[in-house]
Symmetry: C2
Subunit: 226 residues, 2 copies
Amino acid sequence: MPSTEKPVESLAPTARTTLKRLPKRGMYDRSNVYEILDEGVVCHVGFSVDQQPYVIPTAYGRSGDCLYIHGSPASRMLRSLQDGIEVCVTVTLLDGLVLARSAFHHSMNYRSVVVFGTATLVEDSAHKLEALRSFTEHIMPGRWQEVRQPSPQELAGTLVLALPLEEASAKIRTGPPIDDADDYALPVWAGVVPLNLAPLAPIPDPQLPETIALPEYIQHYRKSSN
Amino acid sequence: MPSTEKPVESLAPTARTTLKRLPKRGMYDRSNVYEILDEGVVCHVGFSVDQQPYVIPTAYGRSGDCLYIHGSPASRMLRSLQDGIEVCVTVTLLDGLVLARSAFHHSMNYRSVVVFGTATLVEDSAHKLEALRSFTEHIMPGRWQEVRQPSPQELAGTLVLALPLEEASAKIRTGPPIDDADDYALPVWAGVVPLNLAPLAPIPDPQLPETIALPEYIQHYRKSSN
């Protein structure tokens, strides 16, 4: 557990976000939650239609105390969610494989956030534009100001949903394996293999003129804090 | 889209797995689905209790046509799922950031699998042991034969659920951004930043004697096929 984190503001734990197991792994302050949300790239959106759960991976953005997801008005997910049903959005960062001396104590180091709530349709154009800015900047900070901005048609053709970041919790595991006392004597390598979501060399679009150089914000892009 | 994949066996599309949008991104053959499941490390398990959806990140294993998840009998997720409710398990591999010339056409390259079904409790000990083997080997191939095997108490204290891989689909996006025809003339860098879940140098457990060398299967561990 990182003990240097300073809680900035608390997200009051509710019945849904209170961790039932391993409560020491749970955190409820906004700084933890937002750090994880900002480092993640993809979220998993969970919702139910007629008792059938769906978990859909999708891009997202955050601006202030709001998480945004978007898509085509034809998307089954977005059509379902705009009816005001309950949603659960989870973002998981995988930090390492935890290799213990026993099979039983193998684990993973990770940071995850679970957000509960009801999404609402963003209809105001200025609000919608801010959400679209948050998507582009979430994928690649520095990108929004360089690319062609959404046209009125694109703005109208994008369905944006906002989920207030009111009921959320973070869960974090760090550090070495925890083995049973007797197992420390076993002649088995134990430790952590850290994992890092690393960018490789950018691949220019085949139609990109050679005269257009790679911008600095892409050259220095780094997602994982691991 | 990789066009070199050979379908091995088909998973018949159902109403839940048939992609409503961008159907060309959908694939239903076992080889695609299993390749993605085997490369993933964490899955997101979705289920509903009293209309409330939950999406929980967790480890998993695959053996044959079964996906396994596990945990403590005290886990809310596992207690809920063993009641035989519908579940949706999603595994997502993030392969790259797709940077288009317009904000609107930004996207991601990814491979994901969605599995629907009803999980059942694994009670037979041999079957349970095979599931535990699949968890350990999923985290680190080669690990199972080296570590201390589960004791009868550990076996009894682990709740294992099996989800048959009968209703599943894969969704894949590859390649450069697709921009509007007029936008190709814009002086904006466009292309893909590939992302790769890369292992960093293993960190030995602080309690590991220096005489225990790093095994070769950990030295050569590589998860991402990107």
